[in-house]
Each structure stands twice: as C-alpha cells, then as structure tokens.
Point group: C2
Amino acid sequence: MKTRLAKEFNDSNWSEKKIEKELDRLVEVGNSASDEIARPTYLDPPSGTRDFYPQDMRVRSWLFDKFRESASHFGFQEYDAPVLENVQLYERKAGEEIVDQMYNFVDKEGYHVTLRPEMTPTLARMVLQKTNLQTGEVRVPLPLKWFSIPQCWRFETTQRGRKREHYQWNMDIVGVNHVHAELELLAAACFFFRKLGIGPEVVGIKVNSRAVLEVVLAKHGVEKGKKNEADGGDLFAMACIIIDKLDKIGGDEVTKLLANIGVSTDSAAEILKALEAPSVEELANLIGTDCEAIHEVKRLFELAEEYGISDYLVFDASVVRGLAYYTGIVWEAFDRRGELRAIMGGGRYDRLLELYGGEKCQIPCVGFGFGDCVIMELLKDCDKLPKFTGSGVDYVVCAFSPDLYGKAANISMKLRMTGATVDLMPTPKKKVAASFKHADLAGARRMVFVAPDEIAKGVVRIKDLRTKTKNDEAIQVDCPLDALHTVDDLIAKALADANS
Amino acid sequence: MKTRLAKEFNDSNWSEKKIEKELDRLVEVGNSASDEIARPTYLDPPSGTRDFYPQDMRVRSWLFDKFRESASHFGFQEYDAPVLENVQLYERKAGEEIVDQMYNFVDKEGYHVTLRPEMTPTLARMVLQKTNLQTGEVRVPLPLKWFSIPQCWRFETTQRGRKREHYQWNMDIVGVNHVHAELELLAAACFFFRKLGIGPEVVGIKVNSRAVLEVVLAKHGVEKGKKNEADGGDLFAMACIIIDKLDKIGGDEVTKLLANIGVSTDSAAEILKALEAPSVEELANLIGTDCEAIHEVKRLFELAEEYGISDYLVFDASVVRGLAYYTGIVWEAFDRRGELRAIMGGGRYDRLLELYGGEKCQIPCVGFGFGDCVIMELLKDCDKLPKFTGSGVDYVVCAFSPDLYGKAANISMKLRMTGATVDLMPTPKKKVAASFKHADLAGARRMVFVAPDEIAKGVVRIKDLRTKTKNDEAIQVDCPLDALHTVDDLIAKALADANS
C-alpha cells in the first residue's frame, strides 16, 4: 500500500506519516466535494495553518483592533520583529513544550533558525540591542511599555483541529521591579474583557507567585539556581514545568516526574498539598513563614481592589505556567465554565535578559501572551461577536454601457476625492437589478447608475439604499456632475421634501 | 584561519561564507561599540531582516494605513494567508529571480515548504479553494477585489543593505477579462500617490503589454505555448524574463541569453528595436499589424484620461516585468529622477489559475505588488513623511508616593473608561519635574499628579500641556474624583476665565 501510494504520489521519499495524512485528506475531499476532481495538495495552506478570506479577515481585524485599542488606552506602544528567529534564543533545557515543538530548520548558509514559537525572547533580544552589555545600562528611557500581535508557530504531529500557528497579543513592561507592573498588565487584560462585554462572571484570572513556590520547593531540596546533574538544566524551572502539567496528568504522574529530578515522594506529597492552598493566607500558614513573596501577592490583591479589577482575580496556588523563565507573579485567564484552554497567560521574568546579555543585564520584566483562538471561541459562545456583513462601502457605481465606463470612472474618482469609499463595477451592466444585487451584497449605502439620459443633462442619478421616506419610499436624487460633493445636502433636502 | 575560527565558534560545520559574515559582524560591532562586550549573534535579528521598534512601527503602521485606506476607497477587501507555503506553488521553470531565491526548506514531516516569495500564487490558491475544478465555477460572486499586505521573503547571499524580507501591498481583481480591471488597479495606485502628496512629476507608471510582445516574438519563432526542449519551460515566459533584465545587463547580454532559447542574433536585434518604440502607434507600425493587443493598450490610455490618471502613465515597450505568469498588460511605477528601483509592479495573469487548477479554471486576473521599502525612500527624499513624535497619549498619571498608587490607578481606569488613553507611571515619583519629563517624552496632552493635599479634598489636579492662556500660562484644574468625565468642561471654563 505504502509503496503503491508513494509511487502514485510520484515521490518515494514520502514518510508513512505523510501518506497517512494524505489519505485523511483524500477521504475528506471525497466526502465534501464528490463532484470534483481530486484537489492538488498545494492548493491547501500548509498543514495546521489558516487562510483568512475577507470575511475571516474582518473578524481578525476587529479582534486585533480591540487588542490595539486596549493597549493604547494603557499607553503601550506597538513593536514588531521578523517571524524567523535564531534557534539559540530558545535553548533553555527545561523540557518546555513550546521549545520541544519548534518549527525550526537549518538555512542555506547553515544557520539554525525557527519560526518563532513565542515573542518574549524576541522582546528580550530587542531590549538588549539597546543595552550596553558591559554596564547593563539601557539606552532608552525605562520603563518600556510595549505590545505586539505576532504570529507564533509550533511544529507537532498534527491532529485534526490543532493548529500550527496562532496570533498572540503580547504586552510587556520592562524596567519595573515591583508589583505595579503586574497590576498594569492585569488591568489592561481586564479592560479588554470588559470592553468586549466579557464580565468577571464569564472569565477569571488565576494569580499565583513562583517566588512563593520557590520557598515551598526550597524546603524540599529544589533550591534556586541549582542545576540538574544530567543536563545542566535549572532545577527550579524544571520543577515548575512539571507542576504546570498537574491538571493534565494528575498528582501521581507529577510525583513520578519530580522523582526524576530528585524530589522524594514525601516531599512531592507536601508540595502537592501546598498547591491546593485555597488562599494566600493559608499558603503562608503552610509555609510557616510570612515572606516577602507572600506580601507581594497580598499587595497585588489589595491594589487590584482599588484598580477596580479584583472581581476578575482569584488566588490559585497551583498556577505556575509552562515557561521556564518566570520568576515571580504568574497568572492565567480561564473561562469560569471550565470548557476552554487558558485564554491568556503571563508573569514576571526578571532573569531572562541576564541569561541572554550577561550578569549586568538584570533588567526586570513582566508580560503576558493572549492568543487569538480561545478568545474567539469564547466570544462565539457568549454571542459577543458583532455581525460582519458586507464591506460597508459608501457607493457602488455602475455604468449602463461600455461607452459610459469612462464617465463612471470619472464620477467614482470624484466621489473618492470627497472621502467616500467607492466600488466601481468593472463590467458595465444594462440590468439595473443586477447592479442592485451587487450593491446589496457589498452592503453599500448608495447606488450610482451612470445612464445616458442623465449624463446628457449633466447629472447622475444617486439612490440612497438605507434611507426611506415616511411612506417607505427610497430617496433618489439627480446630482450635477460638477457638484458631486453636494450629494449629502441634496439627499437630505429630498428626504425633507418627501416627508413634509 | 577557517579551522581556527570554526573551532573558536565551537561549531565545525560553519561554512566559509558563514565565517566571513561573522567576521564582518565582529568588525562592525568593534567599530560601533568598542566599549562593549562582543554581542552574541542571537541578539541580532536573522540576517537580512528588520526589527520594528515603536518609532519604526509608527512609520510602518502609518504607511500600511495609507495602503488600507486607498484599497478601501476602491472597494477592495483585505485577506491574508500563512507566511509559509508549499514549494510546488512556485515551480515554474522559467528562471525567475523570485523563484530561484526562495527561502525554502524541508519540514520535519518531509514537506517542501517555503517562506512565501510573493503573494500572487497564494491568492490563486485561495480562489481555487472556492472553485469547482471540474467546471471552473467559482462559488463566490465575481469579480473579487482583494488586497493584502503580506511579508514576503527571499534567500540570497546577503550583501550589506539588501534585505531578505519586505512587506508588499498586493491588490488583485479576479474575474474581469478586460482592461477596466487594469485601470481600476492603476487608478488605486495613483490615488495612493496623490494622497501622499507624490504627484506625477515625481513618479510615473510605465505601461506595456505582453500580448503585444507576444505578437513581436511570434514573428521570431518564440510562439505562445511553445516549450523549451531542455527543461520543458514555457519559451515565451523565459524570453520575457530575459528581456526584463535589459536595463541591468544591456542588449548584448540579452541577445546572448535569447540565443540560448533559440532566438537568432538578427531576430534579437529586431526584438530589441521593437522594445525601443516610443509610442504604441509606432510599435503598431513596426509590427505591421493593428492587432487586438494594440487596441487594448490604446483603450487603456484613453480611459486613463477620463479617469484622471493619465498624467501618471507613460507607454514603454521595454517593460515586461520579471514574473513568468503575466499574459497581458504589465506596468511598473518608477521615480522620474531614475534613482530608485521600481516602486510597484503588476499586470494581467490570465493563465495562472489554469496552471494550478486545470483547464477549466481559465479565470482572468490582474494585480500589482507594491513594496514597503522603495516608497519609504521616496517619501523621505520628497520630505513627505509626517513627523512621528511621542505616542500622543491623552494623559500621563503619576502618584506622588507609593501609598497613593492605588488612587492613581483608580483615577487612570476612570479616565480610560471615558475613552481616554492613559499612561500610568508604574513607579511613583515625588519629583514633579521627572513626571513632566516623562509626559513630555510621551507627547502627552495632559498631566495628572496624584498628591495627598488634593486627594484629601476629594479632587485631583490636572494640567493641560498643550493649551496656554493668552498670557502664555498653563491651564490647570482641580477635578472632583467622582466627576472625572467633566474635565474637558472644567479646562474650557478655566481657559475662558483666564482669557476674559
């Protein structure tokens, strides 16, 4: 079978996996469009990626505009960087899913590059480009409040429905070593939710602190800065990545994985118990010390009250996030029904710039990543997506016959110069009905039909498709060709006359 | 040397080219920042790519907004697709630079993929996804008027200053088999130029027709549909790609290359002569036939007159463009000083969808690609770029001391809820001067300083940084904390009082 298929597909290097996928695809094609010729694979977008047709793009642009508006309301500035990055930026030896599933390759000059799996290392790199590595001095005024909406990639065996790319709203504050930065980011996310009509009864944000977890783990031998003997990975970071899997794999499995990095079963049990602490106070009791890390979490919740966002926040000792570089407060947004994956995740990463730039670059950072997929599912579920119908163009202009096309083009350009958006139908149409159908599909506000009788009189007929008289009649006016800018007035007058 | 360096860089697989580039880099680093530690390479963006810091991003967003506005004024709708595409989409065997320089690789499942070199094949693919390949019927109403601003990639040996990526405004009309579609695209480009203040004295658009060239070449044995014996490539497409190089390599070299595909020296001389025809009429004389292709060009120039864009257009028989798929009218925009590369290029490609989708898919298309780099150079040269200073935030809010931070946060959120953009300074500052410096850098309109005395009275002091009284004094008001939405009125009143 494999041989026959491979031959058929005219490429003996096809892997078995590839052939299986191709079979899946053919079955799908066969089901959905039996009247058609089998479609060449290259007509599909690459596996696990999305095309954005205009109707999809309208939704995406709407969402991105909301991201941008929220960022702008909080005084953040947009940046961007190439989708391609050096693989070295992600070499962290901590078993993170995001690093294990990189979309990486070797380029034609031998460089190891990857489609970026996430944006934070890129941000760190860009900040360090503006930093004197010898002194740690950043040559732009701190703090930086930056945001971006990059497309991020991963490569894993595709299962249906799992994508290889997504867009992610990233918000970061660089240069603030205290909890006001976390608050600002949390407030921006809450502002975004509220603006979309997603209240705290629908989403919550679980907040925790790796600094607190550090205290817990230190009691069980996993001390800050300690390296794993096998591969030199940071033990604490590895423990966090294991604990992050708790929800998915359960306590027994976490205990086993912790054993691999030297945590005894008894210790694991105590750690798991701490992760269940229902409040920061009880966690403090469990630890038996009222440390600075605990104070910080308390202060965050107090200030959230004044900021007006505490209804969204909940303390959750089990939230650690799956990235190695977090060092302090971490959080993730979730839907309260518990049906969706995390909506947004973030936290403090005070050591990442030092890791890249050397010991002088101890530049504190906090940030979050907010994917475009889960929020869209939530918005659909809550019926909070606007209706996106037609392109909403101001005018559709149609010429009655080919010899009037130049006239129609001339009128279209004049209307555009007044600021209007104009869809000039490329092919003249005698049938008024066909033109109106087009205008209707486009969601146009007005229809201009360029016909010989009016043109001979030096005017053009413009019909308003949205305004009706009190007798439910459409308004139309004959507008002089040399005064197209007066059309609004003419229509207003026609309406007033008809209604008087 | 190579061995020593390779050892030093701890990777014996480095190619000589890579080592040379690394040396270049070290020299550059050494020159520009001798006070610094050598920067790890992974802190640079990948070779030939650009980071967009906020100040760069403001410029880019401004340009993209202008692209979008122009597209929207012409009733085009935005679409997008993944930056990664199947290599097969670009296999055209015609010696195009764009195809020879693909940023391609084999993914972990054995698929041949590439960072897209251009957008047109993606558009074709997306249209064919909505087409019944057996009947050629497109399941969405034609014509489509679509635009996109994709990032496009190429891989070539980097020389300094040559980039591996750029953004390209793409505008396409699908489903119109006559010259009105070309006109609409040319008009949109001219509209864009005019809106930016770039008149026809600064840029021109050279227009020609491959259909006319087809008639010329057919006389010399290069007939439409004829294949190259060596590799099965389309002879006419190959001839076009050779002729496109005329400007760069000169007539002798073009003659040599044409000889490789079977064109005699005499024929080449006659072809080169035809390319110099100063007008479409003279070209018609040279051909000795007044064919449909000639009529089409004439009609385009006549309609351009009515459309009000003929001042931008010039006929140029030597313009053919370097892409294999063009079949009819082609054009390119150039700066009239002749200092820059082509600003924009486009044309009709009526056979591309057939090539991908089969003989039923004879769907006519026209489109252009408009890069982001050359136009930026031109805008700078013409001094037509706006000044981009600060983020232009409405308010900067600063707390006098840490215990007032919650109050400052509260005020910030209330101001945002009124629609304002607010930059809350994360770290409280006692020094008013420092806060003002920050507000100034941010280009803020107003400054809110949250201090204990006012707060005790239930108000906050808001200073307007842009409005001065007639005596050149700044306006400031004490706004009640429970009526922050009234601040505009208060400031207007204070100004009137001061000026009365």
